[in-house]
C-alpha cells in the first residue's frame, strides 16, 4: 500500500489540475461564459471581457470574488457576471461591496460609521468564530451606493492631494487617490456600453435613430443661418453632449473598426461610434448589438441573450478569427488559474518533503517530488500561454519576473532532487515556488499583467536574452540562499543534519553558486551590450545595472572565498544567505528608488516587506555564527 502512495498522490493532483481545463459552466441559462470571451480593446490590447472583469475586481478590491462577509456564498457566480451587471444593470452593480477601504480616516471621510462596518452574525457559533478571528468581524469592502453621497468630497480631497509628489504623499493622501481611481475605473466601466442613467438604452437609441434625419437637417440649416426646427436642433445638441461624455468616460473600446478601416486596432468606444452617427446618419450596428444584449440581460431573456452573443461573435469572426481564438484561450486560461493551483501544490509538496525527513523518507519524498513536478508543469504551461498571448519572451514586467524567478529556481530544484533524492530540492522548491507566486499575486493587484511594452523595452531580442538570462541568475542566487537556509535551520534546530547531508548540501550550494555566477555575469554583460546597441554606451551606473553587478560581485566573492579556503561549510552558507539580501535589493530595492531607466513600477508597501526579509536573513546569519557546540546536529 505504502509503495503506491506517491503514485496515488500524483494521480489525484494531476486529475485535479486537469479538471481546471474543463470549459466554464454557466450559473444560469444565460451564456455568460461566451459573453466573457467577447474581445474588447483596453490599454492597447485586445482582451476578453472576462480578463477586464477579473483585473478590474483585483484593482478595486484586491480579489476576484464578489461577496458580502455576512452572507455565505458569492453575490455573483463569476467575474463576467459582475461585469455584465456593471455594463447593463448598473443599479444592481451599485449595491455590490466592491470598493476596498482600509484607512480609518478615509472611512470617516466617506461617512462610513462603525455601524456600517460591523458584521453581526445571527448564530452564536459564528459570533464565537468571529471573536477568535476565523470569521471577519468588520467589513472592509463597500458598495458604490454607500460611497455615492461623498464622491464630491472624495474628488476634492484627491485634487488637494495630487500636487504632492508620489513619494511624499501621506498614507491618507495615498488612500484618497487610490479610492478616487477605483471609483473612476468603476464609473468608466459603467459608461462603456451604455449611459448608466438610461433606463432602457436600446429604446433610447431607437428614438435617436428616428430623430436623427430631422435633427441633422436642423443642425445643417442652423449652420447656414437658415430657418430650422429649434426643438430638433436642441434635442440633437443634448444627445451630442451625452454621447461626447460617454466617449470621454468609456473605458472599453467595444466597437470594432469598420470593414473599410485598414487599421485592425482602431477600435472605438460606444460614445465615439454614436458621435459618428451624426455624420453617417445611422447608428453603428455593433452599438445596437451591445444595447440589445443589455436589454436581454436585464430582462432575463436567456434565449435572446445567447443568440445576440452568438451572432455578434459570428460577425466578428469575419475579420478577427485569430483574435477571437486568443480571446477564448485567454478566458480559459483565466478560469484555469494555473498559478493559483500551483501555489497550493507547492505548499503541499513542501509539507510532504519536510515530513519525509521525519518519517517514510522514500515514500513522502517521492510524493513531494511528483507534486513539485506537477506544479512546475502547470506554471510552465501558464508562462507559455502568457508568452503566446503576448507574443513576447517570458519576462516583460515585474509580475512576470516573479513568475519566472520561481520557475527557474524550481527547475533547478527538480534537477537537484533527481540527483540527490534527499527531499532538500523539494523543500526549497516548495518554499521558493510558493513565495514567488505569492509575490506575483500581490503584483497582479495593480492591473492587467499582460501590459503593452513601453517603447524602450519593445525588443524581443533583448527581452529574450538579457532579461531571461539575468532572471535565471536571480533564480539561482535565491536557490543557493534557500539551500543555505535549510542547512542552517536543520543544523541548528534539529539533529537531522548528518555529515553526509551536510556535505551534499555544501556541494549543492557550491554548484548553484557557480551556475548563478555564470548566468548573472552573462546576463549583466548582455545588458551592457543592449545598452551599447541602443544608447552607445556599455555601462551607465543606473541603479538596476548596479544591482545586477552586485549579484555578480557577490557570487564572485563566495567563489573566491571558497577557493581561497577563507570559508568552510558554515561560512559558505552564511555568504549564500546574504546572497538573498543582495538579490532582493537588485530585484525590488532598486525599483523603489524611483530613479533610472529601469524604474518600472514604484512600490512602497513592498518596501517594508523587503526590510523584514532582509532582517530575517541577517538574523539567520547571526544565528549561524553561534559556536558549533550550540548546534543540535553537530554535537558529539
Amino acid at each position: 500500500m505504502k509503495r503506491w502512495l506517491p503514485i496515488l498522490v500524483l494521480l489525484l493532483a494531476a486529475g485535479w489540475l486537469a479538471s481546471s481545463l474543463r470549459p466554464q459552466k454557466n450559473p444560469g441559462a444565460q451564456d455568460l461564459a461566451a459573453f466573457g470571451r467577447l474581445p474588447v480593446l483596453v490599454n492597447g490590447r485586445l482582451k476578453p471581457l472576462d480578463t477586464v472583469a477579473r483585473t478590474s475586481l483585483l484593482v478595486m478590491q484586491g480579489r476576484q470574488r464578489v461577496s458580502d462577509p455576512a452572507n455565505p456564498g458569492p453575490l455573483v457566480a463569476t467575474p463576467a457576471e459582475w461585469l455584465a451587471d456593471v455594463l447593463f444593470n448598473p443599479a444592481k452593480a451599485d449595491t455590490y461591496p466592491t470598493f476596498r477601504i482600509d484607512s480609518p480616516d478615509l472611512l470617516t471621510l466617506m461617512g462610513i460609521t462603525e455601524g456600517d462596518t460591523r458584521i453581526s452574525y445571527d448564530s452564536a457559533a459564528k459570533r464565537m468564530m468571529a471573536l477568535v478571528g476565523f470569521l471577519p468581524s468588520s467589513r472592509s469592502r463597500f458598495t458604490f451606493k454607500q460611497l455615492e453621497p461623498k464622491l464630491a468630497e472624495l474628488d476634492r480631497q484627491a485634487q488637494l492631494a495630487e500636487p504632492t509628489e508620489v513619494q511624499l504623499r501621506t498614507p491618507f493622501q495615498k488612500a484618497v487617490i487610490q479610492l478616487r481611481d477605483r471609483v473612476l475605473l468603476y464609473q468608466r466601466l459603467k459608461h462603456s456600453a451604455q449611459t448608466p442613467d438610461s433606463a432602457d438604452f436600446l429604446s433610447e437609441l431607437v428614438q435617436f435613430q428616428k430623430a436623427l434625419p430631422a435633427g441633422v437637417a436642423a443642425v445643417r440649416a442652423r449652420q447656414k443661418g437658415e430657418p430650422h426646427d429649434t426643438d430638433a436642433f436642441k434635442a440633437m445638441m443634448t444627445m451630442a453632449g451625452r454621447y461626447d461624455f460617454m466617449d470621454k468616460m468609456g473605458y472599453l473600446l467595444t466597437v470594432p473598426p469598420a470593414s473599410d478601416e485598414p487599421n485592425p486596432t482602431a477600435w472605438k468606444s460606444v460614445g465615439h461610434a454614436l458621435l459618428e452617427a451624426f455624420e453617417g446618419g445611422s447608428i453603428n450596428p455593433n452599438v445596437m448589438a451591445y444595447a440589445a444584449l443589455g436589454r436581454a440581460y436585464r430582462d432575463q431573456q436567456p434565449t435572446q441573450f445567447n443568440e445576440i452573443v452568438r451572432l455578434y461573435r459570428d460577425q466578428l469572426a469575419k475579420r478577427f478569427t485569430p483574435q477571437l481564438r486568443k480571446s477564448d484561450i485567454e478566458a480559459r486560461f483565466n478560469a484555469a488559474e494555473p498559478f493559483y493551483k500551483s501555489t497550493q501544490l507547492y505548499a503541499i509538496a513542501f509539507l510532504l518533503a519536510i515530513f519525509s525527513w521525519l518519517k517514510w523518507p522514500a515514500v513522502l519524498g517521492r510524493g513531494a517530488f511528483y507534486l513539485t513536478l506537477l506544479a512546475f508543469i502547470a506554471t510552465t504551461a501558464g508562462i507559455a500561454t502568457r508568452m503566446w498571448l503576448e507574443g513576447r519572451p517570458p519576462v516583460t514586467n515585474l509580475y512576470s519576473s516573479a513568475l519566472f524567478v520561481g520557475w527557474g529556481s524550481v527547475g533547478l530544484c527538480l534537477i537537484l532532487e533527481k540527483i540527490y533524492r534527499n527531499a532538500i530540492g523539494s523543500v526549497a522548491a516548495g518554499v521558493i515556488g510558493f513565495v514567488t507566486l505569492l509575490i506575483a499575486h500581490h503584483l497582479s493587484l495593480s492591473g492587467d499583467t499582460l501590459e503593452m511594452m513601453r517603447a524602450v523595452l519593445d525588443t524581443n531580442l533583448w527581452l529574450a536574452t538579457h532579461v531571461v538570462v539575468i532572471t535565471i541568475g536571480y533564480s539561482a542566487t535565491y536557490l543557493a540562499g534557500f539551500l543555505a537556509l535549510i542547512y542552517i535551520v536543520r543544523g541548528l534546530f534539529t539533529r537531522s543534519l548528518d555529515p553526509a547531508t551536510a556535505d551534499a548540501l555544501t556541494r549543492m550550494v557550491y554548484g548553484i553558486v557557480c551556475f548563478a555566477t555564470l548566468f548573472s555575469l552573462v546576463g549583466t554583460v548582455l545588458g551592457g551590450i543592449w545598452a551599447d546597441q541602443s544608447w552607445g554606451r556599455f555601462w551607465g551606473w543606473d541603479p538596476k545595472e548596479n544591482g545586477a553587478l552586485l549579484i555578480v560581485i557577490w557570487n564572485a566573492i563566495i567563489l573566491h572565498c571558497r577557493w581561497g579556503g577563507l570559508v568552510k561549510q558554515r561560512g559558505l552558507m552564511c555568504l549564500a544567505v546574504f546572497g538573498n539580501v543582495i538579490t532582493s535589493w537588485s530585484w525590488f530595492g532598486t525599483n523603489m528608488l524611483g530613479i533610472g531607466l529601469h524604474s518600472y513600477g514604484f512600490m512602497d508597501a513592498a518596501f517594508w516587506w523587503l526590510l523584514a526579509f532582509v532582517a530575517t536573513q541577517v538574523a539567520v546569519i547571526a544565528l549561524a555564527l553561534l559556536p558549533l557546540e550550540k548546534w543540535r546536529s553537530f554535537r558529539v
Binding site: 490599454n43 492597447g44 473600446l253 519593445d458 525588443t459 552607445g536 554606451r537 556599455f538 581561497g564 524611483g594
Partner: protein, 386 residues
Amino acid sequence: MHPVIRQFRDFFVSLKLTVVLLALSSILIFWATLAQVQLGIWGVQEKFFHTLFVLGKIPGTDLPVPVFPGGYFLGGLLLINLLAAHIYRFRLEWKKAGIQLTHLGLILLLLGELVTSLLQVESNMRIEEGGTQHYSESYRINELAILDTTNPGFNEVVAIPEAVLADGGAIQHPKLPFQVRLKDYYPNAALQLREGLPNAAPSLATVGVGPRIAVTPLRLTYKQDERNAPAAHLELVGPQGSLGTWLVSPILSAPQTFDYAGRTWEIALRFKRYYHPFNITLLDFAHDRYPGTEIPKNFSSRIRLKTDDGRGDREVLIFMNNPLRHAGLTFYQASFERGDKVSILQVVRNPGWVVPYVSCIIMGLGLLLQFSIHLVGFIRRRAATT
C-alpha cells in the same frame, strides 16, 4: 628573495586581497546607488566612480577628506591584483584555462571602462522638424563664446571653457583685441527682469541686456532632468580702457552684439558645442502610442544626414533600440519637446566601445569552459560511485 619584497608580492597576489577589494566595491556600488537619489547619475559617477577617493567634508568645515576608496582606486588595485596573481600563478594547464580566460576578459573589461570613463563624450542635438543642425551641445559643460561676425561668410569663434572662466582673473586670447575679466560668477543662477524685483542689488552690468536683469544665485542641481545655468558678469578691457561689463548666461537665448576696433562681435555663455563635419535635418518626428492609451509604442526621427565633403547624403530612421552610428558617434532617440515638434538626439562618442565586446566573448568562453569541466567531472564521479 628579500623578505620585504616577498611580503609585498604575497600581498598583491593574495586571494584575500581580491575578496576584500570585491567586498569594498560592492559597498561602494550600493552606496553610490543610494546617493543617486540626491546626486543624480552624473554626480554619482564623479563622486564615487571616476575618482581615487570618495571625499567627505569634516562637519562644520569645507575641508574635504577621503572617506572611502573610489572607483579608480578599487578598480586599479583589482587590476594589479589580477595581473600579479596571474603572472605569479600562471601554469599552462587545461584545467585552469577557463578561469584564466575569464580573468583575462575581466582585465580587459576593467581597462575598457577606464578608457571609456576618460574618453567618452556625451552631448545632445536638438532639432526642430524641418530644421538643420550641424553641432551638438553638452548638457553639463558650458563655454564662453566670443564671435567675430564681421565677415558675412564665416564667423571667427573663440571658445573659453566655463571651468577656465570660473577660475577668475583676466583672460587674454591672441585672437581677441581685448581682455576678458571676470567680475563675478555663479555656477547656477536664475535670471529675472528687474521690474519684477525692485529690491535687487544694483547690477554690475553696464552694457547689453545685463542692466535690466537681476541675478539670483541658486543651489547646484543634480537632478537628471534639470541642468545648472551659470551666470557671470564679464568686463572686457581694451588697450584704451574698459568696453563695459556684460551679463552672460546660457538662459539668455540671443547672443549680445557690440562693435569694437572696427569689427562686430558677439558674446555669449552657452552650452559647449561640438561641431560635426556633417549636418542633420529632421524630416519628421513620430511619437506612436498604443491604441486607446497614452503608452508610448515608439519614438522615431526620420532624418537626412549630409556630410560636408558632399560624399554622403542619405535618409536615416532613428528609433528606439535602433540608433544611427556615424563617424564614431552614436545618435539615439533620447527625448522630444514642444508637442512632438522637436526631437532630441543623444550623441555619444565612445572610442573604447569595442573592448567590452571582446572581453565579454573571452569571459563567456572562459566560464563555459570552466563549468563544463566541473560538470563533466561531477557526472563522472557520480557515475563511478553508483
